[in-house]
Symmetry: C2
Subunit: 332 residues, 2 copies
């Protein structure tokens, strides 16, 4: 093989679905591996809602946007196939921001070796961005206490499903908000959530009242949308809201407004946005919290596999339609 | 004197101006002072925006609403005129929730003796609710650091004016939002704010950009209204917002919506509502923070005095019109 395929970002999304006009598929020459370098063959790429932020031109975001004309950013997992680096051997598995490309030449900076004997899908679904994001938001912002009630939007998503299972393991009443009945069934009957709301078909106010008779202590926000207003109205005194994602609003030119702040005073609520890059230094502590639950079998996942590098392009739209079942992963 | 005047709350506000139909002015018999009791003649009552919450039927608020048919709640200062209580002597000055009435018979519970040799207006303007509220919100939620920029809405109000002066003393750039030019002049030329915005006449976006060239690190929210959206849009990464009051929205049947939460994630903002009753246990620490600045002459105040108990009723509307100049106090 003398060339490999990569996909560059060449335009910014303007709202609406993601299409091929934003990208160009290019063939690149296989690089030669210099001293202190190694070559990774990527096996699985992760698709995450955070990528919409990385594509946008907003320089105020927590991480610089992808420069136009360069490889689209993504996290992934791969295998070392050639190495002139003392710490990485052929056959080692590594994760990191590998991008939308089949091969990556690197000096290893920012990459981590995978030691857990788990399949690629499990690594990308639990121990990569989703699991760390879930653990950070739930514990640091949510401060869960046994007996409290948490509502998680995007509850069948890669982050939401882990948040709910962690909260359940901590002894909370857990209600998930999802976009179809199959997901509702999955989070309740497979993951052990106490209840599910289908935001597309349920009467949000009634169903939420029925499932949270003692109000809501923690809201883990992955989506935005009308459910936000209904949850906000049922928050208990000293409630905490972790704002992790607003997927319902990302594609809108004019995002919906949020609930008025009067209840923030009356109930002394805290609403806090966060993003993992601020907390990379805390990963060891997060893993200490997360790993035992994984080892006890309390954190289940499912992945939704797309085949082939180019499937990533339109695959991103599954976040908007809710068409994915579990963690979106592209198999190369 | 065998009777005294008191004002009972007899109806809940429904939005719009506060009128005499919500109250009844009653004459009560002067009580006799039993063992362990004393009688206070109130000299000055404080009017505070928090009173709108106390009048509303919302049982979720941080303090139970005033029961209909009972004396309207307010804080005030008065003098002991008769005492059968070992700890309170005739002539002592006391503060606490004295209510809308000329005389108060009490066992002293919840009241504090005033020892500082300051006039009644200064006590009610700085060391009572306004100063404590300002100190709590600024330091605990705002976490000010020298060199940062803070915007304070309701900046000429009893809380806002103290927040701004404390922030100035801590080395921040301080911008206040007010409703007329006289207040703008006062906060800049008397209190030492770095800039003022008249939300009624200035172009909010332009003026805010001009006065906060490096963005906004802390927003101290006393009002709500359109300025909230403009400030929110200029918040810096890791910005903090203390939500203390929403006076612009209290009289509205349908309060305005707040900014979408996407920037909460991008900039990892924290928005936190609070109310002093949660923090009464921290008053000694708050006074430790506040008192030195007062003693150094760094905290100026002005009070707007209304004459006579019944002036309280329509006086409350000054909060909505912004017609008050400084701390609203009713002189009895």
């Amino acid at each position: 093989m003398t060339t490999y395929t990569a996909i560059n970002l060449i335009a910014r999304p303007k709202g609406g679905p993601i299409g091929p006009e934003l990208f160009e598929v290019v063939q690149k020459d296989m690089p030669s591996v210099g001293e202190g370098q190694f070559l990774i063959k990527q096996t699985h790429m992760s698709l995450d809602p955070a990528m919409f932020g990385w594509m946008s031109p907003d320089t105020e975001s927590y991480i610089a946007p992808v420069e136009l004309g360069t490889v689209m950013r993504s996290s992934g997992i791969g295998e070392v196939v050639e190495s002139n680096h003392p710490d990485f051997q052929v056959g080692d598995r590594v994760t990191g921001l590998l991008g939308w490309q089949e091969y990556i030449l690197t000096n290893g900076k920012g990459l981590n070796k995978v030691k857990a004997p788990l399949p690629d899908e499990a690594i990308l679904s639990i121990f990569a961005l989703p699991g760390l994001t879930a653990t950070q938001g739930l514990f640091t912002i949510g401060k869960p206490k046994a007996g409290e009630t948490i509502v998680v939007s995007g509850a069948a998503g890669s982050v939401g499903s882990i948040v709910g299972q962690l909260a359940k393991a901590e002894g909370l009443t857990v209600v998930g908000v999802v976009g179809n009945d199959e997901k509702a069934d999955w989070i309740v009957n497979e993951l052990g959530f106490d209840g599910a709301i289908n935001y597309k078909t349920d009467d949000l106010e009634d169903k939420l009242a029925e499932l949270t008779p003692e109000g809501i202590d923690i809201y883990f926000e992955n989506t935005g949308g009308p459910i936000q207003h209904h949850v906000f109205a049922r928050m208990n005194t000293h409630g905490r809201i972790a704002v992790c994602g607003m997927i319902a609003d990302y594609p809108k030119a004019e995002p919906d407004l949020a609930p008025n702040w009067i209840p923030m005073i009356k109930k002394r609520l805290t609403v806090q946005g966060y993003a993992m890059p601020d907390h990379f230094g805390e990963i060891p502590q997060l893993l200490e919290k997360l790993t035992p639950y994984v080892m006890q079998g309390k954190i289940k996942y499912r992945s939704h596999i797309l085949e082939g590098l180019e499937s990533a392009i339109t695959g991103l739209n599954l976040f908007f339609t809710g068409g994915n079942k579990g963690k979106l992963i592209v198999k190369l």
